[in-house]
């Protein structure tokens, strides 16, 4: 019974009442959801709407400006930019979501236990987070991929490692106040084991902030992975990835063929914007006082 009352306060229950509470009044969230569902749709149906092969080298149509055959033009190898863009959407979204999921899962669990138990464990966790945070996230990710290698999975891990401490900190500080609440005592008195108190009773109430953070983290991850790839330290060509595509357009730094780098960069900006707005919208929804 106690569970159900607490679950009602959880984020997922609230999502169902989202519409009634007026998605229309939360324009940020509405714009974010529309933008993101559009991008997600394109990513899902990508292989069916892409008119050309994203990798195969085109025949003779190098660096064609946007035209009816190639609505976003072609790149240095005659590949259709629109097709590559659409395939890249899958990869970039998948990477962004994977990073955010890893950070969210690891960060909120570690943060919750660390905050709840305090003491020595908490000290160790906090010092370790301080160490990771003492490297700017992008630079740490750069170092890790340079040493680990540039396979997709390593790139994901590198970026996730760099951002996890932020999730640990944020969940921990929530936990510090939540564990003092009456219902925490109630759950304890009811005889729940400690892990159950943390996971079932307390975490659902600390998870909102972590979810906001997670949706922002998808954006950061996409930016960082594209940045790594642009520098040659992330996803490698000829894979269709937005950062790789911008890089393709910057041969010789200045190039007249603006369409080669304009469209993928714009895709990054729109997607990241979507996740940033989602984060802001969720925050407005769950903690309107911080607006």
């Amino acid at each position: 019974m106690l569970d159900s009352t607490i679950a009602r306060g959880g984020p997922f229950a609230r999502l169902s009442t989202l519409w009634r509470r007026g998605l229309g009044r939360n324009t940020t969230l509405a714009v974010a959801l529309i933008l993101l569902s559009g991008i997600l749709f394109i990513a899902i149906v990508g292989p069916w709407i892409a008119p050309y092969d994203p990798i195969a080298i085109g025949e003779g149509d190098w660096r064609q400006p946007p035209s009816r055959e190639h609505i976003m033009g072609t790149d240095n190898f005659g590949r259709d930019i629109f097709s590559r863009l659409v395939y890249a959407a899958r990869l970039d979204l998948a990477i962004g979501l994977a990073v955010a999921l890893l950070c969210f899962a690891a960060g909120s669990l570690i943060g919750a236990f660390s905050g709840y138990f305090g003491g020595r464990l908490d000290d160790i966790v906090m010092r370790l987070s301080d160490i990771v945070i003492s490297f700017p996230a992008f630079i740490l990710a750069m170092g890790i991929t340079a040493m680990l290698g540039t396979e997709i999975i390593y790139v994901i891990v590198a970026v996730a490692v760099a951002y996890t401490p932020y999730f640990i900190r944020i969940t921990r500080s929530e936990m510090l106040s939540i564990r003092e609440m009456d219902y925490a005592d109630a759950a304890k008195v009811a005889g729940n084991p400690q892990w159950r108190i943390i996971v079932r009773h307390l975490m659902p109430n600390s998870i909102n902030v972590a979810l906001v953070q997670a949706s922002l983290a998808v954006g950061w991850a996409i930016l960082d992975v594209a940045g790594l790839s642009f520098l040659g330290l992330g996803i490698q060509p000829p894979t269709a990835e937005w950062g790789v595509m911008v890089r393709d357009g910057v041969s010789g730094i200045v190039s007249e063929e603006w369409w080669i780098y304009f469209f993928p960069g714009a895709a990054i900006a729109l997607t990241v914007l979507g996740f940033n707005l989602l984060g802001d919208g969720l925050r407005d929804l769950w903690a309107p006082e911080s607006k």
């Binding site: 340079a146 200045v254 780098y261």
Partner: protein
């Protein structure tokens, strides 16, 4: 907590973090599977060659011996030797640091001049057009890839409109560098009274600095706005209004200085973004700073240089954080008395 206790605690925490970062960099560059000796020897090198290079690099020794050597080197400011330049990494970094600092300082100033007033005014006129504008700047700054922004700015401002010089470094190609006093070309030109290099360096500095400033503008706008809003909600502001002061007086004479204090705390964050942005911007503009150096080192697995760069950035970050904490604790006693959480 009294003042010496506060300083001591912050200091020892920073030292601990720094030590941890040293160990982390050591582990990162030795334990992870990418074997630099193998990379150096080439893909088809026989195992004997790899072993030989490993021996040269000291990688055949047990880990604790390697660590002892590493720490011993650090104590003597020895960061090893760069494989690319064949020079001591510490020298390389020191020689290239002024270029990066000049770029970072210029972007920081540019960002502050634009973003700080924007954030302050946005808070004072909450909900106004200005506020919308500030939100727009913040969102753009957080959503746009720096490397893309830079590319487009180069295309428009250099290629299309010829407003700025080619992105090929700090000066016109034929121009000799000014005599080195600080390593900041703008300052050195001024000090030596060399107008030609002064204008050339300013022209070359503008676009990279502006590009880089976009990376931090959003953080500064947001920081200033949040902090100002918090101050404006305080009782003493209401009292000031009640005493009949005008809004102008209240904002400029009462609120502003208190609102600027918390803005200090984002400085470390700003430094982090500037450092990461430096790598991208220096690569785009062929800017001969440590970011460019690190990029080359990372691509060619120049092990000691990568290590040196990571150590430098992390040490800078920790020190700056310490400085910020101490300043903040000094200016605002509530912090050291533990009356406000760090995230308050």
């Amino acid at each position: 907590m009294n003042l010496p206790g506060f300083v001591l605690k912050r200091f020892s925490l920073a030292l601990l973090t720094l030590l941890g970062a040293l160990i982390a960099v050591f582990l990162l560059t030795r334990i992870l599977p990418g074997n630099p000796a193998k990379y150096r020897a080439g893909a088809f090198a026989p195992p004997e060659t790899v072993a030989e290079i490993e021996k040269q690099m000291g990688l055949d020794k047990p880990l604790h011996v390697q660590f002892a050597r590493y720490m011993n080197g650090l104590l003597h400011f020895d960061l090893g030797t760069s494989w690319n330049t064949r020079r001591p990494v510490a020298d390389d970094l020191a020689r290239r640091l002024p270029a990066s600092l000049e770029l970072s300082v210029a972007s920081f100033l540019l960002a502050t001049v634009i973003a700080l007033p924007l954030g302050i005014i946005a808070a004072v006129k909450k909900g106004s057009l200005f506020d919308q504008l500030s939100r727009f700047v913040t969102t753009i700054s957080a959503s746009v890839a720096l490397f893309w922004m830079g590319t487009m700015l180069i295309y428009l401002l250099y290629y299309r409109w010829q407003l700025v010089p080619a992105p090929t470094g700090r000066l016109d190609i034929l121009l000799p560098a000014p005599d080195r006093i600080t390593g900041f070309y703008v300052l050195d030109s001024l000090l030596t009274g060399n107008m030609e290099t002064l204008f050339s360096s300013l022209k070359h500095l503008f676009l990279p600095a502006f590009t880089l400033s976009i990376a931090v503008m959003g953080i500064i706008v947001k920081g200033a706005r949040t902090s100002m809003l918090e101050v404006l909600r305080m009782d003493y502001i209401r009292t000031a209004y009640a005493l009949g002061m005008s809004r102008r007086q209240v904002v400029l004479e009462q609120a502003l200085q208190n609102a600027l204090i918390p803005v200090i705390t984002i400085l470390a964050l700003v430094f982090g973004f500037l450092m990461a942005g430096n790598v991208v911007v220096e690569m785009l503009f062929s800017w001969p700073g440590i970011g460019h150096y690190a990029w080359n080192a990372l691509l060619s697995k120049d092990f000691d240089s990568v290590q040196g760069f990571l150590l430098f950035v992390s040490a800078g970050y920790v020190l700056l954080n310490l400085l910020v904490d101490l300043t903040y604790g000094l200016v605002d006693p509530r912090i050291r008395l533990g009356m406000r959480g760090k995230n308050a």
